[in-house]
């Protein structure tokens, strides 16, 4: 058994996989380490020397699929990719199609990864820093986000398109990215001070957004399952509106469901309009 560690880097894995393929090493004969716990049964052997005799040709589209699926955090993260690569390199192209059992898992991972990138674009919430602090840190906006897969690096350019010359930072428990208005600084291990700034930013202005959220909700259409399907609970704690969700559901269940209006509006004095006004 060959035991390898690619440090969860696709480029490293790709070089290792190329060598293995060149030497005709079967997927069952190799295992990649996953975090600190190694495969106890694997007796580590090193990678064979040189490129090996087998010159494998694989379509460029496959490498693209593998790179996307590599961002998926989960069991058999790297082994699965090698299995797909092995089958396609040996002439079985169905391994990269969604109709195949292995290909189906490959595509499921790609879908999860792209969904998680979409979650980043949707649910990151930036907090604007007050002017003095912004000047001191050279940062206008900070955000803290907890993605389930390794998508921060590949998916963050989106925010440079949206925010123009604004300077921003997204910190996660693993990695972090900072943009100074023209260039990115990506850190695989998020610096401690980035996390501090992002997690402790004071945000009095969020009350405006919470007000909007409360009032755009229509209690007569209460459907909490749909909310949970599209916006999983794990994101709520970093959303300014997250704490309102259970509260609004509760109010709607206790009778506010009879019409669409928020109770804060119902409590205010109304005004009918004369045509001549």
């Amino acid at each position: 058994m060959i035991a390898l560690d690619c440090d969860d880097l696709f480029a490293t894995w790709r070089d290792q996989a190329r060598t293995l393929l060149g030497h005709g090493i079967d997927p069952a004969e190799v295992s990649w380490a996953q975090g600190p716990i190694d495969d106890l049964l694997a007796v580590p052997t090193t990678l064979p020397d040189g490129p090996g005799p087998f010159r494998a040709k694989v379509p460029a589209a496959l490498l693209n699929l593998l790179e996307q699926a590599a961002r998926y955090r989960g069991e058999q993260r790297w082994n699965l990719l090698y299995e797909v690569l092995w089958r396609v390199a040996h002439g079985d192209r169905t391994a990269m199609l969604a109709g195949d059992r292995l290909g189906s898992e490959l595509h499921r991972r790609i879908k999860q990864v792209s969904r998680e990138a979409h979650h980043l674009h949707a649910f990151v919430r930036f907090v604007p820093l007050p002017e003095a602090l912004a000047e001191q840190l050279q940062l206008d906006l900070v955000a803290y986000h907890e993605p389930a897969h390794d998508i921060l690096h590949s998916a963050s350019a989106h925010f440079a398109d949206r925010l123009g010359r604004q300077r921003w930072l997204i910190a996660t428990p693993q990695d972090g990215i900072r943009f100074d208005g023209s260039a990115f600084d990506y850190q695989r291990n998020c610096p401690e001070d980035w996390q501090q700034w992002a997690r402790n930013a004071d945000d009095p202005g969020a009350e405006l957004w919470r007000t909007y959220y409360r009032h755009t909700f229509n209690p007569a259409r209460l459907n909490p399952d749909a909310l949970r399907m599209h916006m999983p609970g794990r994101f709520w704690r970093h959303l300014p509106e997250g704490m309102l969700i259970p509260q609004l559901e509760g109010l709607a269940r206790q009778g506010k469901q009879r019409d669409g209006q928020a109770s804060e509006v119902a409590g205010q004095r109304g005004k009918q309009i004369n045509r001549s006004e």
Partner: protein, 406 residues
Amino acid sequence: MQLIAKLGILADAAKYDASCASSGAPKRSSRGSEGLGATDGMGICHSYTPDGRCVSLLKVLLTNFCLYDCQYCVNRRSSNVPRARFTPEEVVRLTLDFYRRNCISGLFLSSGIIRSADYTMEQLIRVARLLREEHNFRGYIHLKTIPDADPLLIEEAGRLADRLSVNIELPTDASLKRLAPEKQAHTIRQAMGVIHRGQQAVAGEPKAPRFTPAGQSTQVIVGADATDDSTLLRNAESLYHGYGLKRVYYSAFSPIPDSPDSVPLAAPPLLREHRLYQADFLLRGYGYKAGELLGEAGNLALDIDPKLAWALANREVFPLDVNRAEPALLARIPGIGLRSVQRLVALRRERRVRYDDLIQLRCVLDKARPFIITSDYRPAQGELRSGLLRAQLREPQAPVQMGLWG
């Protein structure tokens, strides 16, 4: 009145419009530039409220003062609601603040009718102009179009906004007369025509200034009057063909506070709305005709989806061999969507498709099973009568809000 208090009133007043799409805009980026905002054709749902609907845009009214007295509308002049009015600068400030925070992808601005249709339209245009020209805002803008406004104003709005919409609200003349006496069906269609002609004038001219690049849409209210699904869908079909509409939104009528006797005070018909969205999607994406989906019936079935209903009514087309059938026909199999059709076609180029492959593709086999043949499967229910089959396949479905994209 403080900004935050106005926001509460004017967001509450705008929530009955179903549209919140931010998709379909051309590629724009602010990278390295002054200003803010990007679009790339994909919509983003930045949040969901407990009603299950997506929050993609800041959806507010400029004012909920209104001279009209539409019975279904919470803002009608005889309604006893608190009133407020934003200045254009206030809407701009809110849009930019929420956008920077990544809470929204743009603005959807509508308004009660104040002074005149032209004056109201001018105010909406003013906000869009401030955003685009003073603040270099490149995010998504959707403006409501006031039907009776001067066509020149509508054209001006079309050059600033990604999307314009003129709401039909009630699809028959009789209902409009009864419930929205100040509105007229023909001016609504005229406004749609102005927008459509503006789009046609720049179609195929890449150098021409953009005109509503994300298209126009409309909304009809479901359940405020007695209009049936057949009328709603045939109406939608004629709008898609006649005015090149991107989307028709169906909004189940939510009871309003201080409700007049002319409209129902009942829970919104969410399941009916859901079936209408499904049927509408079949019109736009699958090439079904409204007549095929409804036949003689006035309303869509609530207990089964419209695609399954069509298949049950057209058993002679089935079972279809997934290894041979044309893609357009494959898409008519219940439980097999457009994406699965593409994947099946890719797979059958490599080898014969088996039953197990459909499981891997995550097709809904409970629905598809009676209607398909694979290399290793033939339906035992082939002979089963449609009535029995329907009894087996019907399932009480919780209403799911969908169709807010596009």
